[in-house]
Symmetry: C2
């Protein structure tokens, strides 16, 4: 079969689709598991609806913060709530720059307007944040503070990096995304490789989405469970069932997996075994 | 949440996604079931890859046959084989015309060039056809015959209508698509409504994809099984397991369900319960 050259926006959609379709994944929405309020269909609808924002990123001319806001707006058009906010924070610069070095160049150019647009994006969604924070993204007065201090979107990510592994990718050059892409290449083609990469990343650092929702102790416990899984001390089905039972979902790791798939696809990794 | 007005190309993608994600569906690919060669990921990748052809249809200026060919080409870029050929035959005129009356106007304007493009589309896929046919779409000499006789794409559909319920929609004004959309409205929002509509259509006519693959007797048996299901004489899980065991998949009914979802969405039906 003759293939067209996959454009970056399409590659991002494919990465989002492959992440959500992969299973079994402990705790997250997948083929075998919906959340009460957010189903597989909500994730897949978001992937379809985000196309214009991803094409905007692909053009590489607009502003990163504004494009993230557009992606969040376009995917808020269903009752499933936030599905891909963290993924867009990583994907928009990656699509913009095509790869990690290109994304870093795009990130360095963010300014106060990007930060303001980013804060506005939070207004259309409901994402867990650290509420003891003067730069709380749910606090309208924070935008005034951002303007007053002249903070760029990269500054905001520096501010958030300690508590958010997605923000940390911005300020440290996408090391987990890079590691995830390397693991995908290592584990081979297709669905099973995505699941293996997911478990391996989960075993390497406590997921910050779990930390925000359940605290550091539980996030570390899940990290150790992922290690037990890798060591063959428990099954993935058992681990998945426990996460679902306890309402624990490693959402930030999923965001990074999406970015990793995007990067790996760009380097020739094949999803199609 | 504020929603943008859904464009027709997006609506078509959403319809394709909702159809494949709905479950359980007897015999077809769904969340709980892949085919050996074609997985859920292949269907979802096709939905992403078809966007340019669906946008071309949305513009309403190009030629129907050529756009169907583009859709088939764009979605042949994976190892999963044909996923949506029949669906595109219905969706392209529907997206072009926005609804059934609009699709019928577009269909009436097809000419020989549409028919030729359509035959070329078959060259990039592998769809079951009736091989005793002088207009066999897999026979290169058929294109010469199409040109010689000056057959339009609508003529081709007339020729195929007896053996193909998708072609029959073209020549009879989309009655099953209309019935499917009416059933969706009747059964209410969301996934369960799609499954109910699927079973009801399957109970009303033998699926022509099953006829081509297994013969009329088995297609009628499956139709009667769907009636038993509606009458509460068997469970959908049992019916699904039997279809999978016997390699029976009602693929043409699935194509019509996609068209029905597209039409129903345009009439305000909500997928999002």
């Amino acid at each position: 079969m003759t293939c067209h050259l996959m454009r970056a926006a399409e590659r991002a959609q494919l990465a989002m689709m492959l992440e959500v379709a992969a299973y079994p994944k402990p705790g997250n929405v997948d083929r075998c598991h919906d959340f009460a309020e957010t189903t597989l269909e909500h994730f897949l609808a978001s992937i379809i609806f985000a196309r214009p924002a991803l094409e905007e990123a692909e053009q590489g001319t607009g502003r990163i913060g504004e494009i993230i806001k557009h992606a969040v707006q376009q995917t808020s058009c269903h009752k499933g709530g936030n599905t891909h906010f963290g993924a867009f924070i990583l994907l928009v610069p990656l699509v913009y720059g095509r790869d990690i070095p290109g994304a870093m160049k795009a990130i360095e150019k963010t300014d106060v307007s990007d930060a303001v647009a980013f804060y506005k994006a939070f207004g259309v969604t409901s994402v867990k944040v650290n509420s003891a924070d003067e730069l709380d993204v749910n606090d309208p007065s924070a935008i005034a503070l951002v303007r007053e201090r002249g903070l760029t979107l990269l500054d905001i990510m520096h501010h958030s990096a300690a508590n958010d592994m997605v923000a940390r990718e911005w300020v440290t050059g996408f090391p987990m995304t890079r590691k995830g892409a390397d693991l995908l290449h290592q584990f081979g083609t297709g669905r099973q490789s995505i699941v293996q990469t997911f478990i391996t990343l989960l075993a390497s650092e406590p997921d910050t989405f779990i930390i925000k929702k359940h605290g550091i102790a539980i996030a570390q416990e899940i990290m150790l469970s992922a290690r037990d899984l890798l060591d063959g001390k428990r099954t993935i089905e058992d681990f998945d069932a426990e996460c679902i039972e306890r309402d624990i979902n490693p959402g930030s790791t999923a965001d990074i997996i999406i970015a990793a798939i995007f990067v790996a696809l760009g380097e020739g990794w094949s999803w199609d075994s």
